[in-house]
Symmetry: C2
Subunit: 338 residues, 2 copies
DNA sequence: ACTACTTGCACAATCGATTGTGCAAATTAC
DNA sequence: GTAATTTGCACAATCGATTGTGCAAGTAGT
C-alpha cells in the first residue's frame, strides 16, 4: 500500500522523473526551469492524486524559514490575552503563518526557557507579552524579529505595541475624583511590569494634580490574578478605613475585588465604588455594570503583527502606544449629588 | 565574529573533532559510544561557552519527531476554550512539547486547511475541538495520534474526551422543572455539533420525562456566540409568550441572553429565569449570579493529554465522558413558592 | 550537412543533526 | 614480541526538499 505520506522522491520514481523536476513543478517554477507543459501536468496530477503535502520540516531546514511565529503570553486564560491571541491568530493566518503558543504563567524563568525553545524551533518571529521582571533573554535573542505587546521594556531596542496606560489610568482616576471620591485604593497587578508601573504613575499624577493627600490613597496588591483582587480587597475592607472607591488595574483583579466586596455584604456603588482597567465583554452584566478603561485589543494585535512583518522585511522597528477609552457604566457613585 | 547561532559542525571544527563525536556528547551518549571523559568535558564546555542550541528543525527531520502538538480550537476568545488551552499548555510543557495553536472560527473549511498545515509540520499529535459539522478531514489524518476534546464524532475511531452533555442538560432542565417552570426556551449553540445535540437531547428527555407539553417549549438559536444569545433572546421576548425560563447551551450565549433581557427592562429571575451550560469565573458576579452547569475543564484537558500520549505510545484509544455539575446561584426563580 | 541555439531534464550539493559501521592506535594477554 | 582486545573517534549515509549547473537531444539557420 501507499503510505499515507508521499515524498517528492517517491513521486519522482512513480513518474520516472527526477526529484528536481517534481520539486520545480510543485513550487510553481516549471516555466522558470523550462519544464514542458506535458510534464508539468503529469506531475501536478500525480501530486493531487497522491495527496502530496510537502514536508515543511525539510523545507524549513533548506529554506531557513519556518512560517511560524512564537506567541509568548503570561496567561492565556486571562480574557485580555485570549482576545489578543485570537486577533493575532487571525492576522497571522492571513499571512500564512502558524502560531507556536506558550504560556509563561508570569514566570520569567519559564519565559527564558521558552525563548530557547522558540529559538531552537527557528521561528521567523516572536510576539511576546513579557512577564516584565527581567529582560536579558529578550536582549539575547533580539537578533530574531520580535515585537513586545502589552508589556514592554523601553530600554530595549525591541519595538512594542501597548496601551497608553499612563493616560488611561489618569483618566480613570480623574473620573473618580470628579465624582468627588477622595479616599481611593488602587489595587495593582504585577509590580515592576511597565503596564502596571505606568498605570500607577497615571494614578499618582492625577491624585497629585487634584491635590489629594497621599494619606487618603493606598496602593496595594501584587499581581493580575483574581486571587490578588480578592485578598487585597478583603484586607482593605478589614482596615475599616473610610475607603470610597477602588481602582483595579486589571480585569481579573476587578473580579476578585467585586467578589470580596459582595462577600462583605457591601453594595457597589452605594457603599464603595469601583472602576477597572481593561474592559471585558461581560462587564455590562455584572452587578452593577462596571465602569472601565477599555484597551484597544484588536488594534494592538493588528499593529503588533504589522510591525513584526515590517521587521522581518528588514524595515525599521517602530513602537506604538494606543489610546484607552473610558467606558462609563454604573459602578461609580457620584458623591457630588449626595 | 561568532554568528549568534553555532552548529555542531562549527563546534566540531573549533575542537578539531568530528560532528559525530560532538553530537554524541551533546545528546548524552558519550559513554555509549566510548567518548573519553576528557573529550566529553571539552565538548560540553565549548557548547556552553558558545551557547549552543540544537537546531530542532534538523533534529526533527532526522528523528521524525517534532515535539509539537497541534491544538485546534474553534474560538480561543471563548473562555471555555481559553481555559482548556491553558491547562493543556501546562501539561504538554511538562512533557516537553510545544503547542501549535490554531483557531478555526467555527469553520470546517478552515479546520480542514488547518489539518493539512499541521500534517505538513509533522506534529506528533493533535488535540482538536472540531467544529463538528464535517469529519472527512479527521478521518483522512487519523493516522496521526489525535484526541477530540469537547466536541467529537462517535462514529470515528478517534478517541474523545468531553463532558456528559446529555446528563448535564438533563439535570439543568430537571432543575427548572422542579422549580415549577414549564414554559422553557432552550437557546442552542452550533446545531449538529455533538455537544449541542447531546445537550438538546438531555433537555428534550427531561421535558418528556416530566410530561411537559412540547408546545410549551421552544428550541432555537444557531451558534455559541454572544450575538446569537442576544438576537435569539430578543426574538423570544418579542413573541410575548409567557416564557418563564431560558436554558442557554453555552457561556457566551448566556451573556447575550442576559444582555437582551436587561435591555428589555426585564429582571432575572423575577420576570424570567435563566440557567446556562458552562460555568465561568465571573458568573457569581453577574446580575444576578448565574446558575450553571459546570464542566470539568481541567480534567478534560488532563485526560485528553493523557490519552493522546497513550496513543503516541501505541496504546489503545480510549474515550471519556466526564460528569458536569450543577452550580446553584440565583438566576432561577422558584415558582413553587409563589 | 554542419554549427548554433534552445528545450527538457538530471546530478549532486546543501540545510543541521543523527547513527551504523569501520578502523587505527593503545592496551592487555601470553 | 606477537596476537587479541579494547579504546576513541571519524566516515558517510540519511531525513525531504531545494537549486546552481551541466549536458544530451531536438530544432533552426545557412
Amino acid at each position: 500500500m501507499n503510505s499515507p505520506v508521499i515524498t517528492i522522491k517517491e513521486l519522482a520514481r512513480l513518474l520516472d522523473l527526477s526529484p528536481t523536476t517534481v520539486s520545480r513543478v510543485l513550487s510553481g517554477n516549471a516555466k522558470k526551469y523550462r519544464i514542458s507543459d506535458a510534464t508539468e501536468k503529469l506531475v501536478k496530477e500525480a501530486a493531487k492524486q497522491h495527496q502530496y503535502q510537502p514536508n515543511q520540516i525539510a523545507r524549513n531546514l533548506r529554506l531557513k524559514e519556518t512560517n511560524t511565529i512564537g506567541l509568548v503570553i503570561p496567561d492565556i486564560s486571562n480574557p485580555f490575552f485570549a482576545n489578543l491571541a485570537r486577533i493575532i491568530e487571525i492576522e497571522l493566518r492571513k499571512l500564512g503563518k502558524l502560531i507556536l503558543l506558550t504560556d509563561t504563567h508570569d514566570s520569567s524563568d519559564l519565559e527564558c526557557e521558552t525563548f530557547k525553545f522558540l529559538f531552537g524551533r527557528k521561528v521567523d518571529g516572536i510576539l511576546v507579552a513579557p512577564v516584565g521582571l527581567r529582560c536579558e533573554h529578550l536582549q539575547r535573542f533580539s537578533h530574531i524579529p520580535m515585537v513586545m505587546i502589552d508589556r514592554y521594556f523601553s530600554e530595549l531596542s525591541v519595538p512594542y505595541v501597548s496601551t497608553d496606560n499612563y493616560a488611561g489610568a489618569y483618566v480613570a482616576t480623574e473620573y473618580l475624583i470628579n465624582k468627588n471620591h477622595s479616599r481611593i485604593a488602587c489595587i495593582q497587578g504585577l509590580v515592576n511590569t511597565i503596564s502596571n508601573k505606568e498605570r500607577v504613575r497615571g494614578f499618582r499624577k492625577a491624585i497629585k494634580d487634584y491635590g489629594i493627600s497621599s494619606e487618603d490613597i493606598e496602593i496595594c496588591g501584587r499581581d493580575f490574578s483574581i486571587e490578588n483582587g480578592y485578598q487585597t480587597t478583603q484586607k482593605l475592607l478589614k482596615q475599616a478605613s473610610s475607603l470610597t472607591a477602588i481602582f483595579t488595574l486589571g480585569n481579573q483583579i476587578a473580579i476578585g475585588a467585586m467578589r470580596a466586596i459582595k462577600e462583605n455584604g457591601l453594595k457597589i456603588p452605594e457603599d464603595i465604588s469601583i472602576i477597572s482597567f481593561d474592559d471585558q465583554a461581560y462587564f455590562d452584566l455584572t452587578c452593577p455594570p462596571l465602569t472601565t478603561i477599555r484597551q484597544p485589543i484588536d488594534l494592538i494585535g493588528l499593529e503588533a503583527v504589522r510591525i513584526l512583518f515590517n521587521l522581518m522585511d528588514g524595515r525599521q522597528p517602530e513602537s506604538k502606544l494606543l489610546p484607552a477609552k473610558l467606558i462609563e457604566r454604573s459602578s461609580v457613585k457620584d458623591c457630588n449629588s449626595v
